[in-house]
Amino acid sequence: MLELRAIDAAYGNIQVLHQVSLRVEHGEIVALIGANGAGKTTTLMAISGLVPPRRGAILFEGRPVNGLPPDALVRLGICQVPEGRHVFPGLSVAENLDMGAFLRRDRRQVATDKEQVYNLFPALRQRRHQPGGTLSGGEQQMLAISRALMARPRLLLLDEPSMGLAPLMTKHLFATIVAINREQQTTILLVEQNANVALQVADRGYVLENGHIVMQDTAEALRRAPAVQSAYLGI
């Protein structure tokens, strides 16, 4: 479904990604793990069109998509929940969800999807008229994911969804991510520093180090790999 072919990305003249290649197949959950500053966020921003790669190619459903503007990528079904959630603080919960569906014209379906989101996260229904900025961290993460779901994504990019959440909240969140993947056949590329949880829900994984992909395997195999265990799982 998604393929990165040897992409390089840079901020000014500081190169951050070096020849990064990865694939995400239809229906999979793929984890991208790595230390702080490894380039995980930059990889997602390259896919979303905010940091266009300097070299290499990005293919979505077999078609090259690098160089497309962010809105064109959302229209193709690539949606991102960025690091730090980025809920629109002054927009109400309902308006945040509307913004997720910004490019959709099927108003009836959007209304039904909103109901579904409220069923999935009843706390959001309760607070639908409240400004997004007044929600707790966990609620903001739910809102950020729900906002992305409102676009009916085919590929969902999640950047550190567990950041700042209590362990119980993280568990609940990951159960939801798995449910979204299973029930809505949404393909997921999951970026996490918390490699432990990420590798428990993922099918496959990649390890990014200083902008290089240094390992790739099934999640199972990565969990057992000594290098991963010592560097990322704290075992």
Binding site: D71, C79, F88
Partner: protein, 300 residues
């Protein structure tokens, strides 16, 4: 008492003209953090466009209200086109450049537009026809309010209500708010941020142009420099209310308009502009973020 009401209406009239201009400053600042110093020129260009349009239309012997509406549309559309072009030429290429660069570009644009109109028209004041009909029902109150003041109040209330509804309830309005709050996230949900920025410039310029038409018809003469002083006053009002805040711009405008009207009426009319700037200095000392503004050290 009659004098008080006369000053009150004069202040409200001034305030609503300031508000029509101040909204453009505050909307643009809210979205891209830029003080568009060329914005006052949209007010001036609106007035000139309305003058030309009304001269042409008067050939056809249309009724006055029809000329007013059509000239208003022409002014809004033409100034909107200028606002669009100014953003494209002077600001968009400088996005991501240090903050001083677009500011200098804005001042350059302002000087350019003034001189362009100076050369294309004349340096002298030119008479502007009264486009606002006399309302018979106002006859008994002619000492405190006239038809043109009432029209200015009515039109600006209408325009500001329409803008509020647009921003609160339409898809584009929500996208404007989203872009102002978090531009990167706006891109990630698929909002075409460039288009929203253009829309903001066009809307702000159109509002200022309507203000230009109304005040020109009220006062009866215009020249190339009227945008400068009106622009600075409206900018003062926007800062007073808290730049970036839409209700703030309206509140600041009415406070400024009323202060000027009462201060010139009861104290002295020799220092008309002094009161506005004294108010600005006081606000900057005691409430730097403005009355309704959020205290953001980074943006100021």
């Amino acid at each position: 008492m009659e004098y008080f009401f006369e000053l009150l209406f004069s202040g409200l009239t001034r305030g609503s003209i300031y508000a029509l201009i101040a909204l453009g400053y505050t909307m643009v600042y809210g979205i891209i953090g830029l003080i568009n110093f060329a914005h006052g020129e949209m007010f001036m260009i609106g007035a000139f466009t309305a003058l030309i349009a009304s001269s042409v239309l008067s050939i056809y012997h249309l009724p006055l209200p029809a000329i007013l509406v059509l000239a208003g549309l022409a002014a809004a559309v033409w100034a909107g086109a200028y606002g669009f072009t100014v953003e494209r030429l002077a600001y968009r290429p400088l996005r991501g450049a240090p903050r001083l660069a677009p500011l200098i570009s804005a001042i350059g644009m302002s000087i350019f537009l003034q001189n362009y109109v100076l050369l294309a028209q004349t340096a002298d004041f030119v008479p502007f026809p009264s486009l606002i009909p006399e309302f018979a029902f106002l006859e008994p109150y002619s000492a405190i309010i006239n038809s043109s003041s009432l029209t200015i109040l009515a039109v600006s209330t209408l325009v500001m209500t329409a803008l509020t509804l647009l921003i609160l309830y339409t898809r584009t309005g929500k996208a404007m708010r989203a872009t102002a709050q978090d531009q990167k996230m706006a891109l990630l949900v698929g909002i075409n941020v460039d288009r929203i920025i253009s829309f903001t410039f066009v809307t702000g310029s159109a509002l200022a142009a309507i203000g230009g038409l109304l005040i020109a018809s009220h006062i009866g003469q215009i020249n190339f420099a009227i945008g400068f002083i009106a622009g600075i006053k409206a900018f003062t009002a926007a800062v007073l209310g808290g730049i970036g805040s839409i209700p703030g711009a309206v509140l600041g405008s009415f406070i400024l308009g009323l202060t000027e009207a009462f201060a010139t009426g009861y104290i002295s009319s020799d220092y008309e502009d002094l009161f506005a700037f004294a108010l600005l200095v006081l606000i900057l000392i005691f409430r730097p973020a403005g009355l309704l503004g959020k205290a953001t050290a980074e943006k100021v």
